[in-house]
Symmetry: C2
Subunit: 341 residues, 2 copies
């Protein structure tokens, strides 16, 4: 009798675990950037606006998935919402370069075919993630940069805007503040060649990206990332977002990954591909692999976060900053959105 009870308990537990695992099958995960995001610095209105935007973005992509569309469609629809919202450093909310321009980068990758597309330093494309997708689907290439990429987007019929579209008062004030802080810093630091040339000392100027990984009903993964880059950046600097393997990577056999943070460290560590390879070559879970890759960034002195989703619907959203705008949605439509640690 005791044995029967134990067996019943075991079966019940196994069933409960299975149900729990089923309940936790995620179909989409998103981020809106990582950095020094502290509750004490956030107004209730702003916090509510971020939560609403993340929720809206998740719902937009989820609608595609529920309708049987591809994970690429879901990623594009989700990132459109984030690009069109001035709260995020991508699309409409892009930060300014030192010269007062908005230079946008984006990448997308299809986990089924390993096709990928990316654009960097574009200035007239309303939704850079769609340009990245057009590069992937309508050209032989993977990466296009600068005016050539803008021209391509125009020729394939994407929505082109006057660069003024990207002007927002908050980002413009951010540039002025950054220039002021940097010039002060440059005086203090004038012995250093690096700070003379760059002087980008306010750590959070490095941050701000949006990203999405989706898993569709056919079991295919897609990942995308879009960013306005770094406030006050010079010299045509490009970060990790448009670099396949660094800020963006996707493979049905492992996971889809989108990173956000101090891009230079993500490039040097080829973070997204490292996660995929740790899964493929060492058999690690998506969470274990992501932790190891992010720890490498941290040990080098870099920071940020990432989102990753595997083909079974397991997801992880680690970060080593104070906060990361993030969210996920399960197969049955349950939304989870968070900002702080």
């Amino acid at each position: 009798m005791k044995r029967l009870k134990l067996l019943a308990l075991f079966l019940f537990s196994a069933l409960a675990l299975q149900v729990s695992a089923q309940q936790k099958k995620y179909v989409m995960v998103i981020h809106g950037g990582a950095g020094t995001i502290l509750k004490k610095n956030m107004s209730p209105e702003k916090e509510a606006a971020y939560i609403a935007a993340l929720t809206k973005a998740l719902n937009a992509g989820y609608a595609e998935i529920k309708a049987g569309k591809s994970s690429l469609d879901a990623v594009e629809a989700t990132i459109h919402v984030l690009e069109n919202d001035p709260h995020f450093n991508a699309g409409k909310g892009a930060v300014f370069t030192h010269d007062g321009r908005n230079e946008l980068d984006a990448a997308i990758m299809d986990g089924k075919t390993l096709m990928a597309g990316s654009v960097a330093g574009v200035t007239t494309i309303k939704n850079p993630i769609s340009a990245a997708r057009a590069v992937m689907e309508k050209s032989e290439h993977v990466i296009m940069v600068g005016a050539g990429a803008d021209q391509f987007a125009k020729e394939v019929g994407l929505k082109i805007v006057d660069p003024k579209y990207f002007w927002t008062k908050e980002r413009w004030d951010g540039l002025k503040q950054a220039i002021k802080e940097d010039s002060t810093k440059a005086v203090l630091d004038h012995g250093s060649k690096k700070s003379e040339l760059f002087g980008i000392k306010n750590h959070d100027y490095k941050f701000g990206t949006v990203g999405c990984v989706a898993l569709d009903q056919a079991g295919n993964l897609a990942a995308g990332t879009s960013t306005g880059g770094m406030t006050n950046k010079k010299y045509g600097r490009v970060g990790d977002a448009p670099i396949i393997g660094a800020g963006t990577y996707c493979n049905n056999e492992t996971a889809g990954i989108s990173c956000t943070g101090w891009g230079e460290f993500y490039i040097r560590n080829v973070v997204a591909k490292t996660i995929s390879d740790l899964m493929e070559y060492k058999g690690l879970s998506v969470a274990e692999a992501s932790k190891i890759a992010l720890d490498k960034v941290g040990k080098m002195g870099g920071d940020g976060g990432l989102i990753a989703l595997d083909k079974k619907g397991n997801m992880t959203m680690p970060f080593n900053t104070e906060g990361m705008y993030r969210g996920a949605i399960t197969a049955d439509g349950k939304i989870e959105v968070s900002i702080y640690k």
Copy 2:
């Protein structure tokens, strides 16, 4: 007695193997591009010129290593020779874009620190590999593109040239031929959106890169790659050469790698980092890991080659094209140069 003989034979064999391994400690390996390179299409003069150039390049880097300089110095010196030689599609010998411009890309990475630098789409820098190194050493960034990268190179004192410096008759004729072939092709193929936009059908237009991996006396690896890109390319296309993890990667714990070939496939497969990860996470040799990574490119329909050198001086130079300009030099100065299969 028989057992003693066997033991002696065994010891002798082990010693011989060790000597052989010592003799085969490579300190540098280079490539000058892969593609449809057939002996029947090569004049003796041209063949001799390529062999002389590869030998000169190897000697230039070897002199740095013998003098106790860093592997970065060796890579830079070697690639200068190849960039300054019009035979190779890098620097002086760069091919033309569709608009009749020369847009150059380069990357360098330090295996000791995992620092990296790269430039893409530059038009006035005589030696793009030096610009990549300056980005690595004199900026906070890893990647700079376009006019901003040219400006940075000028500000840090690199040799700036009029874009006309890169004009060569052979490459100009190559562009005219490519445009002619592509327009013919476009007529035949007019139903396809892709070929309308691109029409780059001559396969070998995709090729041409130079690269170097060096191992210095302190045991540090460095890798670099430089290219003039793809003949008749449009829309600011960037290939794998300046992408850390794709065409260029270096890590003292694994290997230094430089790739050449159909860049899009190298980007999608993140080839260089894949080789490093196969060594780190699966314990494969540099040759085994390189073969697997190149096979992935081949299975997808891409082609090209790569060079890789590990910290013990083991090197590999696989390619799946008809030929690859390549060479290596051992610690004791023995040079090996090859072109065909």
